[in-house]
């Protein structure tokens, strides 16, 4: 089974106060930002790794290929994924400003044509732009089946087909899809028994986790030797022509107010009522 996982570097969401907007408000400036793998991509990568390994012995039984589109230092995001266990990476060089979901989907479609994966596993959205478009657009371009917000995935034929569960407001939906297909994931995909690949022993459960696995120090050492191909947009025959034009970015309003310490629950309730007026 071969899974393509697009990974994007985003400004560390835990450090959102460092994000700054250019003078004219049309873009987010990247100087001084700390980067991190988009957490939603990380969920999908974790699911892809679980689909392609024996969870108990940790033997790899499939291939995960990472793709990142961005400047040269985006390779660090790929390297993190390789250290977590993916086999190789592709860096498509581009500056961040010439990308939108449309260009991204075109790039991934071009790579899919070369790589012929069984699954392309996107994050449901990116933590910076929150557009929630690329995966859906790609499935449309390729004319592949799409399952958004997968919460559980299983296969018993090495990825030729999948049974996928989705969480809806009104309950759960179960679908059966043939590969090649496109998935995005919800956080429930990280639950201990959400991924079944027919190889991992049935009684094995992954540890509870709120994100992808940590890269072990050995994994990091191995990742140094794993191949990362570099490509340009031109190599893939993609023109960096955005269909979206960003008009304006505004930062959230500055936090106001201060901390008040209270002595008792009664005082808290009284303050919430009379001072904060939220009760």
């Amino acid at each position: 089974m071969k899974i393509l996982v697009p990974v994007k570097r985003v400004a560390d969401p835990d450090n959102a106060n460092k994000v700054k907007v250019s003078g004219d408000g049309t873009k987010v400036t990247s100087d001084g930002l700390e980067w991190k793998m988009n957490p939603f991509d990380e969920w999908s990568l974790e699911a892809a790794l679980r689909l392609t390994e024996n969870g108990s012995s940790k033997d790899r039984v499939g291939e995960v290929v990472l793709v990142s589109i961005g400047p040269k230092d985006a390779v660090q995001t790929i390297r993190q994924g390789l250290a977590m266990g993916a086999e190789r990476g592709i860096l498509v060089e581009s500056d961040d400003d010439s990308l939108d979901s449309h260009v991204v989907a075109q790039v991934i479609a071009a790579i899919a044509a070369e790589e012929k994966p069984d699954v392309i596993f996107f994050g449901k959205q990116s933590a910076d732009g929150d557009s929630n478009v690329a995966g859906t657009k790609l499935a449309e371009m390729l004319d592949w089946p799409l399952v958004n917000y997968a919460m559980a995935i299983s296969t018993d034929d090495e990825g030729k087909s999948f049974t996928v569960k989705r969480e809806l407001d009104v309950g759960q939906q179960t679908l059966k899809v043939q590969s090649p297909c496109v998935f995005t994931s919800s956080d429930r995909i990280l639950q201990p028994e959400s991924v079944k690949n027919g190889v991992t022993p049935a009684d094995f459960a992954y540890p509870e986790s709120e994100g992808g696995r940590y890269a072990s120090l050995k994994g990091i050492m191995k990742a140094k030797k794993k191949p990362v191909d570099e490509k340009s947009l031109a190599d893939l025959g993609v023109e960096a022509k955005r269909v979206n034009e960003y008009v304006k970015f505004d930062l959230p309003p500055a936090r106001s107010g201060s901390t008040t310490f209270v002595e008792s629950v009664e005082e808290l309730v009284q303050k919430l009522h009379s001072d904060a007026k939220v009760l």
Partner: protein
């Protein structure tokens, strides 16, 4: 994942080094921070972290082969920094296991000893402790009384008492330094050997989330293959201490960063008189001092790491950084404690814990003043120990 990095040291780090730091940091935030104050309060070591340390590859991380990660020294140091940003006791566990126990087996052990111990130690299934200090011989371990004698049919009998031994009650194997025919040798003593007892030292103010023990060896008999064949004399234990002290240099920066970050964020929120206390010059002077010392320690220690990686370091250079970094970490912890006022003494904040822990770090692995004397001897050529 904010970084205190005033001099863009990030740019001097290799990609794998950043990855090590960031993954260990994430691990510490998720698995150590939420539980550590409770363990500290209860005086218990979080034993369930051990398999997780192993899975991350933190045990013996800078050793080659035998299931170890084979990281460079800077990557290893950054891992120690992040661990100690959590707690000095947690870092101490990993230092003792990797630098004080796995290192001597790796460096001075026979092939059979390496095969027998190292993979299990990297997996956290065999825990080690390092017995050098004795009740009456701390700064002066050369005077140790613990003695090994040859048994007529082969093997050794060991008698003596070791004190302040980290991981003593957790250990499956103790590395006991003892005099054999007047020279110091290392012995790998399985802790279930008859005559070996470990007594936990509980009533301590510092390093409470770490096990400290007294080891008593009464006619402990071990086989011939318990002896570490590759070294004799004080060079054996001292070379282990160099490794562990190197990790401490980084660890102290982690504890200092933890205190500094807590104090800055607290001071921005805490209003006294008419504005946040962060707006007063006296408080700002403290922050300027803390940041300066953290930045100096980072530059110093990174350079030390590069020297170590190229094999060109001298132990005295490690003494300089250990002495400097721990001294300033303790000073920063005390200043940060002050900035938090009454809250500075609470378990809710990590500062009091770091401050108390650093008292141990100041003393173990060569006290501050002993490192002063090591430097003094290096500068003048005259030892001032006696």
């Amino acid at each position: 994942m904010a970084l205190v990095d005033y001099y863009a040291i990030e740019e001097e780090l290799h990609e794998d080094e950043r990855l090590v730091r960031d993954n260990v940091r994430r691990f510490v935030e998720a698995k150590v921070m939420p539980i550590i104050a409770r363990h500290y309060q209860d005086g218990t070591f979080p034993e369930d972290l051990v398999p997780q340390f192993a899975e991350l590859g933190l045990l013996g991380a800078n050793l080659e082969g035998y299931g170890c990660a084979g990281m460079g020294d800077v990557a290893y140091g950054l891992a120690m920094q992040e661990l100690e940003r959590g707690d000095s006791g947690v870092r101490s566990f990993c230092s003792v296991q990797g630098s004080l126990c796995m290192y001597p087996i790796h460096a001075f052990g026979s092939e059979a000893q390496k095969e027998r111990y190292l993979p299990g130690m990297a997996e956290g299934k065999i825990i080690g402790c390092f017995g050098l200090t004795e009740p009456d011989f701390g700064s002066n371990p050369t005077g140790m009384l613990t003695k090994a004698e040859r048994l007529p049919g082969g093997g050794f009998r060991i008698n003596g008492t070791k004190r302040w031994i980290t991981n003593g009650n957790l250990a499956h194997v103790a590395i006991i330094w003892a005099k054999l025919d007047g020279r110091v040798h290392g012995f790998l003593v399985p802790t279930e050997t008859k005559g070996f007892t470990a007594q936990k030292i509980d009533d301590k103010w510092s390093l409470r989330a770490s096990v400290t023990s007294e080891l008593i060896l009464e006619d402990v008999e071990v086989d011939e293959d318990a002896l570490l064949p590759g070294v004799a004399g004080m060079r054996g234990p001292l070379s282990c201490l160099s490794q562990a002290r190197y990790g401490i240099c980084w660890g102290a920066i982690g504890a200092a960063i933890g205190c500094y970050e807590t104090a800055v964020s607290y001071a921005k929120d805490r209003v006294q008189f008419s504005k946040p206390i962060a707006g007063y010059q006296l408080v700002q002077a403290k922050f300027a001092h803390m940041l300066t010392e953290i930045t100096k320690a980072q530059c110093l220690t990174l350079r030390l790491g590069r020297l170590k990686e190229s094999g060109k370091y001298r132990p005295q250079q490690i003494s300089l950084a250990k002495r400097n970094n721990v001294h300033h970490a303790l000073e920063i912890a005390r200043m940060a404690r002050d900035v938090l006022g009454g809250n500075g003494i609470m378990y809710e904040y990590p500062i009091g814990r770091h401050m108390m822990n650093l008292e141990t770090v100041y003393t173990y692995e060569g006290t501050h003043d002993i490192h002063t004397l090591i430097l003094g001897q290096d500068i003048t050529g005259i030892p001032a120990f006696d």
